[in-house]
Each structure stands twice: as structure tokens, then as C-alpha cells.
């Protein structure tokens, strides 16, 4: 079975935030909720690089390991999802996650955290597929429609890849190989100036 993965090609990412806005607009997220973020290092200096980060849909996900409610679960294809009907907003998953993926909407009484929200790989949630409840709680279900996640689909430089881990790894491997041969490696390079 294919396992769904994201991969952000840092040589391609230009920190345009297109993925972030696509995600927010596509799922009509409240402001303050970042299912996806762009992180820039060395801003304004040589060595500036950016990467787009969301839930990585880990193979053995720490969030699932610590969740006291069993709200988090992993689908056959590796997509990690949360049931907002079961989640109690305790935040353990946020503390367990290496990537800061879980998000918590505010706005309940006394600013209590509501149910956790995170990247669904555009695969909706445990509510019936294409139901109004699914759309409201989890956003679009593009995977069920046979489409790639919105962020990767919108990426202007094709930096963000999403899909079967084996396939996107192949794409990336081919890219790295090309860069190597073109930019710096090879006999012509090694023995020229």
C-alpha cells in the first residue's frame, strides 16, 4: 500500500506562502490556524533557505502514541487524522510532535482549547466522505476526489511534492541527480577552470 508523504524541495521553495494561503482558503480555516507554515532560516543573508512544513504524516506518529483519547489515528495509506468528536484539546499531541503540526483554535469560554486541528493531507476526516459535517470540521476531501493536496497543487515552483512516498522520493532523487550533473559534477566541470 502506498504511503502518503510530503516533501519540500528546499532548492525550489521561494517562501511565497502560496501553500499556506491555498490551505487556509481551501479549507476556510479560521485565522490563527496554520495547518502549514513556511519557515525561513538565515533571512536576508547568504544561505537563506525556506521550507514549507505541515503534518508529516509520520509512519509511527508520536501524536498517536501520546493521545489520551484515541482521537488520532492513521489510515491505511499513512495519512494521520484526528477525530474532532473525540479530541479533548489536551495538547499532548502538540508536545509530542517534532514539527509543531497540531493547531488549537481559541474562542471557547475562557480561551480554552477546542479540538485539535491539523493538516489532513486534504483527506477530510472520520465524518462521512463529502458530508457537510466533514467539510465543516475538516475541510475538503480532495484525496477522495482523486486530487493532490491543495498546497502541493498550488506550489508555484513545484517545490512541495505530495503523494506516494516512493514516487515523490523518485522525483526528488532525479532532481538532485540532475542538479549534481549540471551544476557542479562531471568531468567537464572537474577539469575546467
Amino acid at each position: 500500500m502506498a504511503r502518503m508523504k510530503f516533501l519540500c524541495d528546499i532548492e525550489r521553495c521561494i517562501a511565497c506562502n502560496g501553500c499556506v494561503v491555498a490551505c487556509k482558503e481551501g479549507h476556510q480555516l479560521p485565522t490563527g490556524i496554520y495547518r502549514r507554515r513556511v519557515i525561513i532560516i538565515n533571512e536576508g543573508r547568504p544561505g537563506e533557505h525556506s521550507i514549507s512544513i505541515a503534518c508529516m504524516h509520520c509512519s509511527d506518529a508520536p501524536c498517536i502514541a501520546v493521545c489520551p483519547t484515541g482521537a488520532l489515528y492513521q489510515r491505511e495509506d499513512g495519512i494521520v487524522l484526528v477525530s474532532k468528536d473525540v479530541c479533548i484539546g489536551c495538547g499532548y499531541c502538540f508536545m509530542a510532535c517534532p514539527f509543531g503540526a497540531p493547531q488549537f483554535p481559541r474562542g471557547n469560554a475562557f480561551g480554552a482549547r477546542g479540538a485539535m486541528d491539523k493538516c489532513t493531507f486534504c483527506a477530510g476526516g472520520p465524518a462521512p466522505t463529502f458530508s457537510e459535517k466533514e467539510r465543516r470540521l475538516y475541510g475538503q476531501n480532495r484525496i477522495a476526489e482523486g486530487k493532490v493536496p491543495l498546497c502541493a497543487g498550488m506550489c508555484s515552483t513545484k517545490a512541495l511534492l505530495a503523494g506516494d512516498g516512493a514516487v515523490i522520493a523518485d522525483i526528488f532523487r532525479a532532481r538532485v541527480a540532475k542538479r549534481g550533473s549540471g551544476v557542479a559534477w562531471g568531468w567537464s566541470r572537474a577539469y575546467k577552470d
Partner: protein, 286 residues
Amino acid sequence: MKKLAFSLLLIIVPAAVLAAGLLRIPATVSTTEIFRTFNPVITDAWAREGREFITKVNSFKNYYGILLAGLPLVFLVHYVVFGPKKFPESGEKVFYYGAFLRLVHWGAALTMSLLVLSGLAVVFAKFLGGGALVLKLRAVHVGAAFSFVPFGVLLFLLLLKDMLPAPYDLKWFLVLGGYLWRRQRPVPAGKFNAGQKLWFWLGTVGGIVMFYTGYTLYQFKAPVSVLRQYLVIHLSLGLAVFGLFLIHLYMSLLAVKGALRSMISGYKDREEVAYMHPKYYEKLKP
């Protein structure tokens, strides 16, 4: 031990394989290197403490379970084997707890009970099915914490003098408070025995720590590394509180006859004071 294979590895591995081989790019930084520079920024302290944190948090559920199931069992055995502490009725009453103290005590008791119960609901959320019920109980936990504060503070002020540690407290611990004695003998204790003192200090000073860590976890306004530490502290202290809460409950309701009554009326029987709090009893003598 489960092997955690994260997506980051998926990113690094193909690049690393290539970079390690012939395709090392001279004069430019390799993709793998750049990914590595992101690691500390994105995963923060996770690489150091993440796995340990997950193991710890998961183990707490077991500890709480052991206490929840084990302590009542221990109490049952104790009750059957040793029976409750009974004291001959001398008829002479000693005024032991002032009205205000009793009021404060019951306030603290109520809020503490809510705290323990709602806290357990979070720990055993899966058992309760999670969702709206536990979400509400989490709110109760927060509300009870705030309500506990005034009672905790008053309790601290009212009892501080009598709760200061004394040399004989150590002896009390060594004889386990005399609860494993088959016949009545005076135990080394002042107005409050060492067990009560422990419960007091845990409830007040420990309460402050619980409140601070709990509030930070509730607000979520600290670096994730700090949150992780706070959660472990909160769960550890919570475990201790939960244990002592159960013991306190057993002692007052079952193990020591008349204990509950004294906290209602304020009076203890002279005999009970003589056996259970002899150092205080001595002072009472004219």
C-alpha cells in the same frame, strides 16, 4: 522498543545517499546539509527529549492505573487484616478543629475532589470515550483549580505552625504511623502526624507548582520544550496528590474511626488524641 521512522528521514535519506556518493557538490552546500540546518529550527529540542517525553507520558497512564486499582486493594487487605483504629470512648472531648478551619477544609476537600476526578478523566479519556464529556471535565478541572486557590492559601496560613516538621516525624514514618500494629500504642506525632504533614505540604506548596504548570499548559504560552517538562512535572505531582488523596480518604473515612466525625464537629475523643497525637496530648495536659 518501537522504531520511530519519521518523515524527515524520508527527506534526508535519498539526498544523503546521493550526497554521500559521487555527487558531492563542491563549493556549494549540499541539499542534505541545508536540511540539517533546518532540523534544530523545526524540531527544536525534540531530537533530544522527544522520545523520552513520549515514553514518560505514556507510562503515567500505567502509574495512575496502578494507584487507582492497587491502593483500594491495599486498603481492603489492611482493613481485613488490621481493621480500623478504634479507641475506647472516654467521653471526654478535645476541641481539635476550629469552625473556620473546618469550613476551609471542606472547601478544599470539595475542590480537590473535583480536581482529582476531572484530572483522572483526562488521564483515562480513552476509557470515557473522549469528546464533549471529557472536554467539559477539562473545563471543570480548570475551574476547580481556580476555586482551590483561596482554600489552599487559607489552609496554609491556618495550619502552617502545626505542620512544621519535627524530629519525631521521621520515627512516624519508620513505624508507618502504627497502622500495621495490631494493638494500640501511642504513635510519635504532634497535632498532625507526619502523613498529614506530607499531605499538607504536597497540597499547598505542591499545589502552587501544580497550579503554575497547569496554567502554563492551559495557556500553551511557553516554548514546547518547557511545556513538555511542565507536563511531566504536572503528571508526577498529580500522581503523588492522587495517591495521598486516596490514602487520606481511606484514613478519614474507614481506617480511623471518628476521624470524619471530628472534622465535622471539631471535637476528637481524648483517647484518640492520646494515641494518635501524643506529643500534642502532652501539651494539652495542664
